[in-house]
């Protein structure tokens, strides 16, 4: 009997049920009383906040009983097929509890922020219904006790992501962005499904506990089967967590409301891939090739996305590419076998990136408000239209400043410790396999770019003269308390978050030990010596300082002109602004040939030609032809019928008398 039985952990299902009920109530209100914003806010924020409290209770239950094994709470048998039995079951272990706290905690703050941000939107109730549904599905994802349950959450959050990206669906571009996110994710999900089939075929079960226990016994380490499973799983992760080559949907996903970008496309959903790799850690650890792919793709994505972030003008696009880049770091961590480090960065990133997005939301809110006053159609998200906002939005400025230092990697803020640990573990793997030195180098280079583009963002928005417009300036004002309080709370978490896993103390490491230990046992790696560790740390700080310094000396916010008068970019800068034209490349290589093939071969050839022409119209033609032949026999002449009649009678007679 698991020691968690009979404790608050039994209530874990409530954390899913509450936001789901919130979804039902808000969804009903959206139809019945869409203007009752008080009730909507109360239900929307309240359900998630209470779920967070339940999560805290579950956390303390786990803390008090410190169970070594996962506590699986099965609710009902979902499906039975042959010897496969899948339960609708939730799993409470140290990893899922941590994720539960992050999702509901950060989720509550973002729900609260949304009350202010979305206050004047006509779709207020619908918005909160979707947001609550998202929290429910996200919790299904992190708490699920087997692959299919996790997959339900996985698809559910994808659905909510689609709905919220296209929240303002009357704008064609935004609706298209939602569609793009959905379709790109399908590619990854196909990989996930294949991985599940392979796991079932080779291990006969899909429960996490059994799969992770039996995989080392039944599969050959490094063999083709486990490598294929891990790679297909990673394809799913690359889709959900926006890694090369499937990252293109995330920057477009910024079409949704900014709190959605903070919650779904920075803090929680997009980290699901990292969570899955950590959850199925044993499978990845048994396949060194797959782990190397994970780390390599992560490092490449980190550098690639960071370089695009250097030249974006849309404040949310900068943050979007920053998110893609930071997700790359997390994959470097889990790929290198430092599962705890990857999860650590996931947690700290949830804090500081949610803060950055909410801060940008606060800015956009103020900008939009000012432009709305004067009916100016200018872009409220373009940094060239900002500048000097420090004076107008002091709280937003301070909190975003903290987050910028954290993501750049300045100690003692949260981002420094987590990023440093990931890079150190990649460096540590380098002793066995020089490939990991390359990964480390890419990560370090990306860190330099990160410091640079984040400083650039701060300089262009908050420093220099204001470029919003003379008529708009008096209308720029700090956002209401309901929006700034979440910013302050997240800023505090960003400052203190690193404390959960200080080097050589490793609280989070020890906390996750029961989950990660079986996987870590497979990973060859020499812990770096203290000297090297300190050296790497000093290097990381130096990189961050150089990046910030470089941005401050090279960029001149006072020389910037508003977006409308800005000159066109040239050369490499243009290529960066156009995101390396990857979207255009995909369009030319995949989308257009696919559409051409579908139109000419599948539609005109197979459907219209073969199926409609030969099949449907062909059979109709044959029936008509036979009917025509038959109708020729009907002369209408009585004598002809009688002749047939007589001949028939004679034939019968002849047959009878023979």
């Amino acid at each position: 009997m698991n020691p968690l039985h009979g404790t608050a952990a039994d209530w874990v299902g409530l954390t899913i049920l509450l936001p789901f009920l919130g979804f039902l109530v808000n969804g009903a209100l959206a139809f019945v009383r869409p203007d009752d914003k008080r009730t909507v806010s109360l239900v929307g924020v309240g359900s998630v906040a209470v779920a967070f409290l339940v999560g805290v209770a579950v956390f303390f239950a786990v803390l008090g009983k410190h169970p070594e094994e996962a506590y699986v709470r099965s609710y009902w048998t979902w499906m039975t097929a042959g010897d496969l039995e899948i339960h609708a079951a939730l799993q409470v272990d140290r990893l899922s509890v941590l994720m539960l706290l992050v999702v509901t905690g950060v989720g509550s703050l973002i729900h609260l922020f949304s009350v202010g941000y979305m206050h004047d939107d006509p779709g207020y109730a619908r918005y909160f219904a979707y947001l609550n549904l998202f929290i429910a599905f996200m919790l299904v994802l992190v708490l699920g006790a087997n692959f299919p349950v996790l997959f339900v959450g996985w698809e559910g959050v994808g659905l909510c992501s689609y709905l919220l990206i296209g929240f303002w669906f009357t704008d064609r571009q935004k609706a298209a962005a939602g569609l793009k996110a959905f379709l790109v994710n399908r590619i990854g999900d196909a990989g996930f499904l294949v991985a599940m089939f392979l796991i079932y075929r080779n291990l006969g079960t899909l429960d996490f506990v059994t799969v992770l226990r039996n995989a080392p016994l039944q599969l050959a380490p490094g063999g083709p089967v486990v490598t294929a499973i891990a790679l297909f799983l990673f394809l799913g992760c690359a889709g959900k967590s926006a890694q090369i080559p499937l990252y293109t949907w995330l920057p477009d996903a910024m079409a949704g409301p900014t709190p959605v970008s903070a919650l779904i496309h920075a803090a929680t959903m997009v980290t699901a891939g990292v969570f899955l790799v950590a959850r199925a850690g044993v499978l990845f650890a048994m396949a060194p090739v797959a782990s190397a792919v994970v780390g390599g793709v992560g490092a490449l994505t980190a550098l690639f996305a960071a370089s695009i972030g250097l030249k974006q003008w849309d404040i949310k696009k900068v943050l979007a590419y920053s998110t893609v880049s930071q997700l790359g770091y997390m994959f470097v961590g889990v790929g290198a076998g430092a599962y705890a480090a990857g999860i650590f960065h996931l947690v700290t990133h949830a804090f500081f990136k949610a803060l950055l997005f909410l801060g940008s939301g606060s800015i956009i809110h103020a900008m939009h408000h000012a432009y709305h006053h004067t009916h100016n159609p200018a872009d409220a998200q373009d940094m060239r239209n900002m500048g000097g906002l420090r004076a107008y939005l002091p709280t937003t400025f301070r909190t975003m400043g903290v987050a910028t230092l954290a993501i750049a990697g300045i100690p003692p803020l949260a981002g420094f410790f987590s990023k440093d640990e990931i890079l150190a573990s990649a460096f540590g793997r380098g002793a066995d396999d020089p490939f990991w030195y390359l990964v480390w180098a890419l990560g370090a280079a990306a860190a330099l770019l990160t410091a640079f583009y984040m400083t650039r963002l701060m300089l262009y928005t908050f420093y220099g003269p204001n470029r919003t417009g003379a008529a708009e300036q008096p209308h720029l004002a700090e956002s209401p308390k309901v929006m700034t309080v979440p910013l302050v709370v997240l800023a505090v978490l960003t400052v203190l978050g690193g404390a959960i896993n200080l080097p050589h103390v490793g609280t989070l490491h020890r906390w996750l030990e029961p989950v990660t230990a079986p996987a870590v046992a497979y990973t060859l790696g020499t812990p770096v010596s203290l000297g090297v560790e300190l050296g790497l740390m000093a290097l990381a700080i130096a990189i961050a300082v150089v990046g910030i310094r470089l941005a401050m000396t090279r960029l001149h916010p006072e020389q910037l002109v508003p977006a409308e008068q800005a000159p066109a970019e040239r050369g490499f800068a243009k290529l960066l602004l156009e995101k390396y034209r990857v979207d255009e490349l995909y369009d030319a290589v995949i989308v257009r040939p696919l559409v051409f093939f579908s139109r000419v071969v599948l539609w005109k050839g197979v459907d219209a030609g073969a199926i409609d022409g030969a099949g449907v119209n062909g059979s109709a033609f044959v029936a008509r032809a036979l009917g025509w032949v038959g109708s020729r026999l009907q002369t209408g002449q009585v004598s002809a019928y009688v002749l047939c009649f007589v001949l028939g009678a004679l034939a019968v007679l002849g047959a009878l008398t023979r």
Binding site: G636, Q637, S639, V646
Partner: protein
């Protein structure tokens, strides 16, 4: 006597069939049908000499039905004539496909 009787009846029946097949006038065809009925009646009577009186009884039934049929059939032909001004069956081919 049986053989010649059956032969006459067969000849009469065949004449009737050929008449129905070849003639065009509805009334003539009708008469040919009557001819076939009476050919059958002749068969009944001829065979009743050996097989009992049932055949002769049956002939009366056939004659009764034939009388009724003649009444109905002639009525139809008259109606047809009133409607179409002809009793030529070659002109009546509404069932042609």
């Amino acid at each position: 006597m049986l053989g010649p009787s059956l032969a006459v009846s067969a000849i009469l029946f065949s004449l009737g069939v050929v008449g129905v097949l070849l003639r065009r006038n509805a009334i003539v065809i009708f008469m040919c049908i009557e001819l076939m009925l009476n050919a059958v009646n002749l068969t009944f009577v001829a065979l009743s000499q050996q097989l009992g009186l049932d055949g002769q009884v049956f002939v009366f039934f056939v004659m009764t039905v034939a009388a009724a049929e003649a009444a109905v059939g002639l009525a139809i032909i008259i109606a047809l004539y009133r409607h179409r001004d002809t009793v030529n069956l070659q002109d009546l081919n509404l069932l042609r496909g």
